[in-house]
């Protein structure tokens, strides 16, 4: 009996290993689709038929899903729209989506699958820098241009290489805008800074904010930290209250912790205005309820209150296709990410190669998008855009000003 059990266990392990291998994205088991991969490597990829295949990697499951799922929906919407208008130069666009599962290893293997198995000519997606680095390295090696929809660490193109582009502004721009809004518009002179140390996004955001706020002449009274997954903030809150309330609080957390942080700080009696970056363009009200409507500010990419035709068209089309308005700014970024790819592919004419798309993205100048006007140069793959400051009012983010 025991021997049979041991045998079964051993067998199960072998199968598990085999499954891991397949998940690793070497394409070893998908024999049929793995064949035409040779020419897809080394930047020589080209579109020959009348279908343009592009890839999308989004973390639609896991912690990132609240921002990546809307981004993927908007990306898919953009693809539907361009095909309904006859495609690009007469060719239809086909998007292949893979779930990154909020796991850097899966994101990297997704990129490999898209390039090797599906033969995509360009890739879009991902709202967080840690996953962008992972997928970007694979795309760079294959010479496939990759446009990140929501990743905001400004050094991504430097780290990944010349195939990487960002749709969003860099964290430095976002954090500087928050510092300037607090100092210049609100007249805040002292701030408290809370940082989630488990993500590079939140750590960077705080560092940029502190740097700018001090530069302006403000004082950072207290900096405290936590690690995402901590659900008890009582020690941090008591220390803040004991040090004395500041003019404002800069809360650098990811979208998941936002509502919990607001609820616990406000319930414990911290009343100073709270401000955060685009990570807080998420559900602030789930746990906190009405407390999230009390003096909470978010620096983000766009505002649904923007009356420009581009923004209003996007909101209407998204609402019609999915039955709800865009959940957050990452949806708008996903939509813009697709527009950048389409614009560059269109500029290629009939000579659609990965390298041509890459150089044509670099040539984009003044492309009007939902999240602002996007321009790139050969040296700068991070668009210089304005930051939208919003305030949480009655369960939604209302536009206040552009910085």
């Amino acid at each position: 009996m025991k021997k049979i059990a041991t045998l079964l266990l051993a067998l199960a392990m072998v199968f598990a290993l085999a499954a891991c291998g397949a998940g690793g994205g070497n394409g070893g088991t998908d024999d049929a689709s793995a064949a035409p991969t040779e020419e897809a490597n080394g930047g020589g990829a080209a579109v020959t038929g009348d279908v343009i295949k592009i890839g999308g990697i989004f973390n639609v499951t896991g912690d990132q899903s609240s921002i990546d799922a809307p981004a993927q929906k908007a990306f898919a919407l953009a693809v539907d729209e361009i095909n309904a208008n006859g495609g690009i130069n007469g060719r239809k666009v086909e998007a292949v989506f893979y779930d990154g599962q909020t796991d850097t290893a899966v994101c990297a293997s997704d990129a490999k699958k898209l390039i090797d198995n599906d033969g995509v000519i360009a890739i879009g997606g991902l709202s967080d820098s840690d996953y962008a680095y992972a997928a970007g390295a694979v795309a760079q090696e294959a010479g496939i241009p990759i446009v990140f929809s929501g990743a905001t660490t400004p050094d991504i193109p430097d780290v990944v290489g010349n195939c990487a582009f960002m749709t969003a502004f860099g964290d430095d721009v976002c954090a500087h805008a928050a510092a300037e809004y607090l100092y210049n518009e609100m007249g805040a002179r002292t701030v408290y800074v809370l940082t989630d140390t488990s993500m590079s996004y939140t750590s960077n955001l705080s560092a940029y904010f502190v740097e700018r706020f001090k530069e302006l002449g403000g004082e950072v009274t207290l900096e405290d930290h936590f690690s995402s997954g901590d659900y008890d903030f009582s020690a941090q809150i008591q220390r803040y209250l004991a040090t004395g309330e500041t003019d404002a609080m800069f809360m650098s957390t990811g979208p998941d912790d936002a509502s919990t942080v607001i609820e616990q700080y406000r319930s414990a009696g911290a009343t100073a205005p709270m401000i955060s970056g685009d990570g807080w363009d998420a559900d602030l009200w789930g746990v906190a309820g009405d407390l999230a409507n009390k003096d909470v500010y978010v620096c983000t990419h766009y505002s649904t209150g923007d009356t420009s035709e581009t923004v209003q068209h996007f909101i209407a089309a998204y609402t019609e296709k999915y039955g709800i308005a865009p959940e957050n700014a990452f949806a708008a970024l996903g939509y813009d990410c697709a527009q950048i790819l389409f614009k560059a592919i269109e500029a290629c004419g009939d000579d659609i190669t990965a390298e041509n798309i890459r150089t044509n993205i670099e040539a984009i100048n003044g492309l009007v998008c939902t999240t602002g006007t996007i321009s790139y140069t050969a040296d700068n793959h991070v668009p210089d855009k304005t930051v939208v400051v919003t305030q949480s009012v009655d369960g939604a983010l209302k536009f206040i000003t552009n910085i």
Binding site: D63, A235, T260, S267, V287
Partner: protein, 298 residues
């Protein structure tokens, strides 16, 4: 660093300790008898919270009915897990069951992920439970008081069960020596099932208080409190219920004191500190603070 500040964070530590204590009692009833390090305990807790959430918020049942129904369902889940994952390994080494319990933990978390997604869901309690009180600079809510009371009730009830009832005495016998207990005509399977039923039921109550205090639930919520309850049971001493409660309060208070008094650049490492504390305690008292010195079960 005023006295009132120390007092406030001390109370925060006690509040956190009470939550850990209630998890640790349910944990140590299984741990004390089977010597089974049940990493899935925290996840049974999460399952219980989700069942309450569905019954209370989606089906609109009253809170008491939801809790009772969730206890019943979770006890069934606990027994099922015992039957499928632990009973076949009854004669295996402790390490084997430990790994089996990790597998159950991963399984439960992933089932919850499939059913409810990774998004955090708000877990809102009726207003009277979350009503706050203030004495001086100290804040607490009704749910904090209830947590303390239930911890005490559980402790006394289990103490009476273990010392006065036939099944309790059988449990203690199994805890001492399972083979000898079997030879004495004790049905080990029955004893283990009762222990699992009690442990799972208490896990639901603990989960309800945990999610109620922090107002949110997500699939991995119970795992870390489960680990901390394990630490509490180890620090307190294997098989000692009072020790587990004491260990839980020690962990809760030192965790908050660490986060509240250390330089702020270390506050993110409070969990690491708790686990380090366990290692240090074990170095000096291998059987925990209140554990028996008899050592391994024969």
């Amino acid at each position: 660093m005023t006295l009132s500040y120390i007092l406030t964070i001390l109370v925060s530590g006690l509040k956190l300790g009470a939550i850990y204590a209630i998890v640790a009692i349910g944990y140590s009833i299984v741990y004390g008898i089977l010597r089974l390090i049940n990493f899935a305990h925290g996840d049974i807790m999460t399952v219980g919270i989700y069942i309450i959430l569905v019954l209370m918020n989606r089906a609109g049942l009253p809170i008491y009915v939801s809790i009772l129904a969730s206890v019943a369902i979770s006890v069934f889940v606990g027994l099922l897990i015992e039957r499928l994952a632990y009973r076949p390994l009854r004669d295996a080494t402790e390490e084997t069951t430990l790994i089996s319990s990790l597998a159950v933990s991963a399984l439960l978390q992933n089932i919850l992920l499939l059913c409810f997604g990774a998004q955090r869901q708000p877990f809102m309690l009726p207003g009277f439970l979350t009503q706050g009180h203030t004495i001086g600079s100290v804040n607490f809510t009704n749910i904090n008081i209830i947590t303390f009371i239930i911890t005490a009730i559980f402790l006394v009830a289990l103490f009476l069960l273990l010392s006065k009832t036939k099944i309790g005495i059988a449990m203690r016998a199994c805890s001492e020596n399972m083979k000898a207990a079997r030879l004495m005509g004790i049905s080990v399977n029955k004893v283990v099932m009762v222990a699992f039923a009690i442990g799972s039921g208490m896990a639901v109550i603990a989960g309800f208080l945990l999610a109620g205090e922090y107002k949110t639930v997500y699939p991995s919520l119970g795992f870390v409190p489960g680990l901390k309850a394990f630490c509490a049971a180890v620090i307190g001493g294997i098989g000692s219920l009072g020790g587990a409660v004491a260990g839980a309060f020690i962990i809760g208070v030192t965790e908050i004191l660490f986060a509240g008094l250390m330089p702020t650049s270390y506050t993110a490492y409070r969990d690491a500190f708790v686990f380090l504390l366990m290692v240090v305690v074990l170095l000096f008292r291998p059987n925990g603070l209140f554990g028996s010195t008899k050592g391994e079960r024969s």
